[in-house]
Symmetry: C2
């Protein structure tokens, strides 16, 4: 894995702590300087929780270096019209 | 109301559109150049939805000028130990 490659953790429906652990593992492997949390819809709240728990409890030297929000079109698995879903990206960076 | 005063809309459990309307009303009254959306916990997702619906559908000239996340301690109304809740602030700005 190249040093510059951003590592991405997709936030879904698992408990917050699963993602906290995934991010910590990511930072502790190789030269990871940056991890990106990506979430859609309801998982956006979980993404914010993950960022807060990591930066306040586990890796206090990390910074939230960027937060972005957006919209994506999602086609339901069952078929039907695509609908718009909000997205969020939180970038965590090691000093 | 002073021109510099930031107007705040607190996002809660109402439907997204209620808050969209509140923000639009806010921008259309007086000299409002900036509206701040504030949300905690589950309402964070709604805040992102509100920002997206406004900037993409209703007021396309608005910009998301700042996004912040944080943590607050909330004491349950029923009493008991305070617990930590994630917070989010989205600043919408008129050009």
């Amino acid at each position: 894995m190249s040093e510059k490659e951003a590592n991405t953790v997709f936030i879904g429906r698992k408990p917050t702590m699963s993602y906290v652990m995934a991010v910590i593992t990511n930072f502790n492997s190789g030269d990871t300087k940056e991890v990106v949390l990506k979430a859609r819809g309801r998982a956006i709240t979980t993404a914010v929780n993950v960022a807060q728990v990591i930066t306040r409890r586990f890796m206090k030297d990390l910074k939230v270096s960027k937060i972005g929000i957006g919209t994506e079109e999602v086609t339901p698995r069952e078929g039907g019209d695509p609908r718009k879903v909000s997205t969020m990206e939180i970038v965590l960076t090691k000093p």
